[in-house]
Each structure stands twice: as structure tokens, then as C-alpha cells.
Amino acid sequence: MTSITPDIGSHGTDLPAGTPRGTTVINDAVVAKVAGLALREVTGVHAVGGGAARALGAIREAISSTDHSQGVSVTVTGPLVAVELSIVAEYPLPLQQVADDARTAIINAIETLVGLEVTEVNVTINDVHLPDEADDTGEVPHP
């Protein structure tokens, strides 16, 4: 599904003020990608997506085509967006704080970059990453 924003014509000479000169269409995938990218800046978010999505993501990354919208699902209704998010949090950070930070980052990104209004962001913390554990992608954990 896509969202359509009427594009107000800017001071057209032969058009009455306020007549649209076309429509801007923002695909849902774009909104999801913007949200996914915003999460990279959030402290305490170790990974995005559920187990299966992350396993697929690891394969995608190996062939260098990262899916930035992994773990993010958006529903756009007119100018309103609802987001469902699934993340893995870092131990030992407070989970509610991590979830709230992720929500704030997504709301800021979508409202400033896309210009749609976010009604809700439902965050699911599906796992916790322990620092002394080997990463399930097989890479060495950062010190």
C-alpha cells in the first residue's frame, strides 16, 4: 500500500493558487526503510527482526544486499502510520528505555523525513543479547 500526499502547486502562472499539480506517492517500503535506518543510531538495539528474519538477513548481508526494513512492519492509512517493530536488546540496558528510545527515533525519522504522522509504534523485544556470548552470526563480540 502507498500513501498519497496532494502536492500543492507553487505559484503557477496559469493555475489558480492551491490547485494540485500532481501527487507524491510514498511507498510503504520507503517508510519501513526510513524507520529501519533510524534504529541504527539507537543505543541498546543489538539487532532488528525476529530469529527467522535475522537468519535471512545474515544471508542477505553475505551477498551484500542488507534489508534495512527487516523487523519493521508499517501500516499507512492516509497521512497516518502505525509501526510494528521487533528488536534484540543489549544486556544490561533497561529494556523499557531501549524500547522508548527506538520508538522516539522512529517517530522522529518518519515525521521529519517522510512527513507522515505516526500514531503508534509497538515495540517487541524478542531477545536479549548477552555480551559474553558468541554472536549468533558467528562474528567475534566487540570488547
Binding site: P92, L95, V121, V123, L130
Partner: protein, 119 residues
């Protein structure tokens, strides 16, 4: 998802799955008792809407010949377990925001391990 803890935030909900809660509790318990998180078994139960935790874990103890005096400086295994039980309750509540009804710690064994050398 069943067994998850849901908190309502201003713009949506925060949900902590049973898997995330289990792993977090095992990490906290492992820290408190000096064992590895993978050695800790955690059961989550519902106690009239509050969270009831049961932790089954070994405890790390010093071999007898390393003990100075009758009891180790940080207390007997029972003292340490009781302190760990309080730590688990406090830390899990602080990290997850969950309303914890009770924490049961069951010691399933003892791991003999020498203290790490500080160098």
C-alpha cells in the same frame, strides 16, 4: 506471543517476549552467583498478573583448601543465594519494569572454581 510482558507507552506498547525475559533473568542470576548464563534454568509463571520467577542454578564455590577460616569472606552458600535472590528481584525489576511477585532460587549443584587471578 504468550507469556510476554506488555507495557503501554504514550505512542504504542512495549512488549517483552518470554524468551527475552528468560535470557535476561538467566544473565542476572548468572552474574549474581558467578556461573555462566547457559547454566541457569529460568521458569516464568503468572501470579495473578504479576511475574513469578523460578531460577534453577548451580553456585560457584571455592574448594575447601582455598578457604581461609571457617567460612568464606562473602558468606556461606545460603547467604550468597539469599543475596542473589534479592539482587535478581531488584535488577530484573529495574531492567524490565516488570512487577515481580516472587523469586525462587533453587541450587542444583556446586561448581568448584578457583578465583581468577587479578593481574
Amino acid at each position: 506471543m504468550s507469556g510476554s510482558t506488555v507495557t503501554v507507552a504514550p505512542h504504542g506498547t512495549n512488549r517483552i517476549t518470554a524468551r527475552a525475559m528468560t535470557r535476561l533473568v538467566s544473565a542476572v542470576a548468572a552474574d549474581a552467583l558467578g556461573v555462566r548464563p547457559s547454566q541457569v534454568r529460568v521458569d516464568l509463571a503468572d501470579a495473578a498478573g504479576r511475574l513469578d520467577l523460578t531460577v534453577r542454578t548451580p553456585i560457584r564455590v571455592l574448594p575447601r583448601d582455598h578457604l581461609e577460616g571457617a567460612a568464606p569472606a562473602n558468606g556461606t552458600a545460603l547467604d550468597r543465594t539469599e543475596r542473589a535472590q534479592h539482587d535478581i528481584r531488584g535488577t530484573v525489576a529495574a531492567l524490565t519494569g516488570a512487577d515481580i511477585a516472587g523469586v525462587t532460587v533453587r541450587l542444583t549443584g556446586a561448581r568448584l572454581r578457583l578465583p581468577k587471578r587479578a593481574d
